[in-house]
């Protein structure tokens, strides 16, 4: 069965959405201000004849015209971090401030963790939680390469992370990753409603615990890289008795509103404030982000 067919009703320009799935995604990277100034990094890329284009919506994000960006000297020395374009969105929505206490509940491989740390100028504390021992290794090595000094790693099951309070929490949840098809073809072939419903149980558990751990008035950002409403709006809807949604809008990056009707069922109108990013609209991967304020 075609796993995208069920999104025909909710995705604008559905044929454009289908067509772009087979087009590979360009490489991209984030300038790491913890180690280098933006102008110096751009000069260095020019000197090495690496073509780049700065994102319309984020001055630290670059599209890179190069085949193996991981081998760039700038990456090995931690001046640049190879990171997918839309993966840079959740930290901006979280908006962490220097000196705060932040929890990144599903942290590995640390792209968003290190971006959060950079936004905090290495001041304050980020708890980067990652239950899988195998996934702690890349998390640690990325943080160390990027000069991150304010991150402590823990290995709790995110649904049972013991105690807060935290000023802000990022739940970048494990998901069916349908939005990554352009990066790793075959993701869609493994996707199904049943798989989404299985993941939903975990996602609801993670979001529920995050809301428990946030301080009153604290920010919880929930994100996935999938289109499945079962893993997105239907998860966020379960949190609306404890938190309210804030509208997401990033100048230069077009979002579509969260959906409020699915499978014939009407959901909470405020779910429109979530953001859906589709690959054919900004020439990116696919992504979902919600910003919740705890009551």
């Amino acid at each position: 069965m075609d796993p995208l067919e069920r999104y025909r009703e909710i995705v604008p320009d559905y044929s454009g959405f289908r067509a772009i799935q087979s087009l590979p995604l360009y490489s991209s990277g984030r300038i790491n201000l913890l180690k280098i100034e933006r102008a110096s990094l751009l000069e260095s890329l020019k000197a090495h004849e690496v073509g780049y284009k700065i994102f319309d919506w984020y001055p630290l994000g670059l599209k890179l015209d190069i085949e193996s960006p991981g081998k760039l000297m700038e990456n090995l020395l931690g001046y640049l971090h190879i990171q997918e374009e839309l993966s840079m969105v959740p930290p901006l929505i979280l908006d962490p401030q220097p000196g705060e206490r932040i929890l990144d509940l599903c942290a590995s491989p640390g792209s968003k963790t290190s971006q959060i740390s950079q936004m905090m100028q290495n001041k304050g504390l980020v708890i980067a939680n990652e239950p899988s021992l195998a996934r702690v290794a890349p998390l640690r090595s990325n943080c160390e390469r990027l000069g991150v000094m304010n991150v402590a790693i823990t290995r709790y099951d995110g649904r049972r992370f013991p105690h807060g309070p935290f000023d802000r929490i990022l739940v970048d949840a494990p998901c069916s990753s349908e939005g990554r098809e352009r990066r790793g073809p075959g993701v869609l072939a493994r996707s199904s409603i049943n798989r989404s419903l299985d993941l939903q149980k975990l996602q609801i558990g993670l979001l529920k615990n995050a809301l428990r751990l946030a301080k009153p008035g604290g920010v919880v950002v929930y994100s996935t890289c999938t289109y499945a409403p079962e893993e997105n709006e239907l998860v966020v809807e379960t949190a609306l008795s404890e938190a309210r949604l804030e509208k997401i809008s990033i100048p230069g990056l077009k979002e579509c509103p969260g959906i409020t009707v699915w499978s014939g069922r009407q959901m909470d109108e405020s779910l429109r404030r979530c953001a859906r990013y589709y690959p054919h609209i900004n020439d990116t991967g696919g992504f979902f982000v919600a910003r919740l304020i705890k009551n």
Binding site: N122, L125, A137, E144, R145, G147, V148, N150, R155
Partner: protein
């Protein structure tokens, strides 16, 4: 292994900032003030540094950055830590030219000219190129031996070796 030693191996024990700063000052003449604003911990034979904050009571896998190994004598700074603190070094540092820097980043050993060696003491040194710290080198018998972790070497074949990286500084 006795239960006592296993406890010591697996717990982060606070260390005095002065104790750490003194070692870096002795070897590299890095001003001790460079280390203010960080907390230091020892676990097994490694020293870790994290930005100062109130650390909640949790079971930690890591605290900030692993900055040095006390496993052997002399103690060894990590490349990651030198990239942060090493720029303040005034002693036991070396500036490479473009060709040497490339070899260094590929993990090679580099024979050094007499001019470059003046003032260097045997042991770990901070390696610079164009004013930026590349990482940790071992200077011994007229040679500079790159200590860049495998996963961060330029000749990297593209295979991920992150897990190996944990074991070697």
């Amino acid at each position: 292994m006795s239960p006592g030693s296993s406890r010591i191996r697996n717990v982060f024990e606070p260390m005095e900032r002065e104790e750490v700063a003194k070692l870096w000052n002795e070897r590299f003449s890095i001003p001790v003030e460079v280390f203010s604003g960080f907390l230091f911990f020892r676990k097994a034979r490694s020293v870790w540094a994290i930005s100062e904050s109130d650390l909640p009571r949790l079971s930690y896998e890591s605290l900030g950055m692993r900055i040095m190994s006390l496993k052997d004598r002399p103690w060894k700074p990590t490349t990651s830590a030198l990239q942060i603190f090493g720029k303040h070094a005034a002693r036991n540092l070396i500036h490479l030219d473009e060709h040497e820097a490339t070899l260094f980043l590929q993990g090679e050993s580099i024979p050094l000219t007499m001019k470059i060696q003046s003032g260097l003491e045997s042991g770990y040194v901070v390696v610079f190129y164009r004013g930026e710290v590349l990482g940790c080198g071992l200077y011994s018998h007229g040679k500079l031996i790159s200590q860049i972790p495998k996963s961060r070497r330029m000749a990297d074949t593209g295979e991920r070796v992150d897990i190996d990286d944990i074991g070697c500084l």
